[in-house]
């Protein structure tokens, strides 16, 4: 018979399974993204020139807010049912388990957001030449935001009402991602190269990959302690 998988695989699989069992929670940020973006042309007016100019910024800001919306759930249920403390006292490296959790979370939220974005870009009359920039910047950006957001979620999981606090902790850290992400899309929309912005986003992602799981594990220890 097959042996049990490593804790990384098991945690990753379990969290994906949980995400798909709680479809409502998973769809929430997507619905928010969809509704918020489709409101923009109604509020701003259907002027193509104006929409095209604000599209990169709007798409990125909404994607950021949608990510923020679901962040509180990342460790909440694990904390409430006691599996979090079991994970913390296990003899396995926490870095990997945290990575597994964030990866599953990103596949359930960031990835669908990225896949949905060209459709909404079209709604804001973003030129189709910018779709690649939009998708690739969101792909890297949402992954980095999930990793960084996990630190905020870990810090506030012990508090009953941590929702707003997460935003306050995490927002400043999202600013560079937002600036470079939106500027990549804006440059692509004008037909300019956007590799520089993607490179910076990639660098941020690598930094987050290296440091965020460690910070998350440390923050969880503090939260569970109290």
């Amino acid at each position: 018979m097959a042996k049990s998988p490593s804790l990384f695989t098991a945690t990753f699989r379990r969290d994906l399974l949980l995400a798909f069992r709680h479809k409502g929670e998973m769809i929430n940020p997507l619905v928010f993204f969809l509704i918020a973006i489709s409101m923009i042309p109604l509020g701003v007016g259907p002027d193509k020139e104006v929409l095209m100019r604000i599209a990169p910024g709007i798409l990125w800001v909404m994607a950021l807010l949608a990510t923020l919306l679901s962040l509180d759930n990342l460790f909440r249920s694990d904390f409430d049912d006691g599996t979090l403390e079991q994970l913390l006292i296990s003899p396995h490296p926490l870095y990997l388990s945290m990575l597994a959790k964030v990866l599953a979370y990103w596949i359930a939220t960031g990835l669908p957001l990225t896949l949905l974005s060209p459709l909404l870009g079209g709604m804001l009359s973003l030129p189709s030449g910018a779709f690649i920039a939009l998708c690739s910047s969101l792909l890297i950006g949402t992954a980095a935001m999930s990793l960084i957001g996990a630190v905020g979620a870990a810090l506030t999981v012990g508090l009953r009402k941590g929702g707003l606090l997460i935003s306050l902790i995490v927002m400043p850290l999202y600013v560079p991602i937002l600036i470079f992400g939106a500027s990549a899309v804006a440059d692509a929309a004008q037909g300019n190269p956007f590799t520089m912005q993607l490179a910076v986003l990639g660098a941020i992602l690598i930094m987050a990959l290296l440091l965020a799981p460690l910070a998350t594990a440390g923050a969880l220890r503090v939260s569970v302690n109290g």
């Binding site: 049990s4 098991a10 069992r21 049912d81 079991q86 913390l88």
Partner: protein, 221 residues
């Protein structure tokens, strides 16, 4: 000094919560083959002590030794030797009992699926393998958590109120499992408000270590 080092030794353990000392200068030695019931009124720090021993909480003064060496220097060995069942059952309600145990199996190392099914049968949950846990009763949820004891290879079992919500036969089964574990050379630390039927149960009363009390040592029951 005893010749053989105690499996688990607490030296001068003091824990303070919100400027209130829960217990102070707690000294105790636990050996292989022992079962210890930790007693004390509500709020005396039983759960806190277990959380400290399990490594969940690090909010204490004093030292803990495993096999004569400080646990801080051998955190990995300690975590490997330990099974902790806390106040919260640690069972995900939207997963089935089998899926829950699979994750615990990965936490522990390698356990085959048949063993997990066997463990579920052992705690009278055969037939519930694929029922989502939110459909189970509180007692059955507790049994899912207790199924971990069946396939565990940890030496030290730390159980916080494991009898909660169990029916009479469940309690008897669990008592037998604890006896068997102690006889096989394991160590059981348990809190419970009810009397445990156990041949050589030892009692650690936290009231002896409440503030201003200087009595020390493990009282034989």
């Amino acid at each position: 000094m005893t010749v053989a080092p105690a499996l688990l030794e607490l030296r001068n353990l003091t824990c303070e919560r919100d400027e209130r000392i829960l217990f102070a200068r707690l000294n105790a030695r636990f050996y292989e083959g022992q079962a210890v019931q930790i007693l004390g009124p509500n709020g005396s720090g039983k759960t806190t002590l277990l959380r400290i021993l399990a490594g969940v909480s690090r909010d204490y003064n004093g030292e803990i030794f495993l096999d004569g060496k400080s646990v801080i220097d051998q955190a990995w060995e300690f975590a490997n030797d330990l099974l902790y069942l806390g106040h919260l059952p640690g069972v995900k309600k939207s997963l089935t009992p089998l899926e829950n145990l699979r994750w615990y199996a990965a936490l522990q190392g390698s356990v085959e699926d048949e063993q997990l099914l066997l463990a579920l049968a052992e705690v009278n949950l055969a037939g519930y393998e694929d029922t989502p846990c939110y459909q189970l009763s509180a007692g059955q949820l507790r049994r899912v958590a207790l199924a971990r004891l069946v396939f565990s290879n940890a030496k030290i079992w730390i159980l916080d109120e494991p009898f909660t919500a169990l029916d009479k036969s469940g309690i008897a089964q669990l008592e037998n499992r604890l006896i068997a574990h102690a006889e096989a050379g394991g160590l059981v630390l348990v809190t419970s408000h009810q009397d445990i039927r156990f041949p050589q149960l030892q009692i650690l009363n936290l009231q002896d270590f409440a503030e201003n009390s200087t009595v020390g040592g493990l009282v034989r029951g």
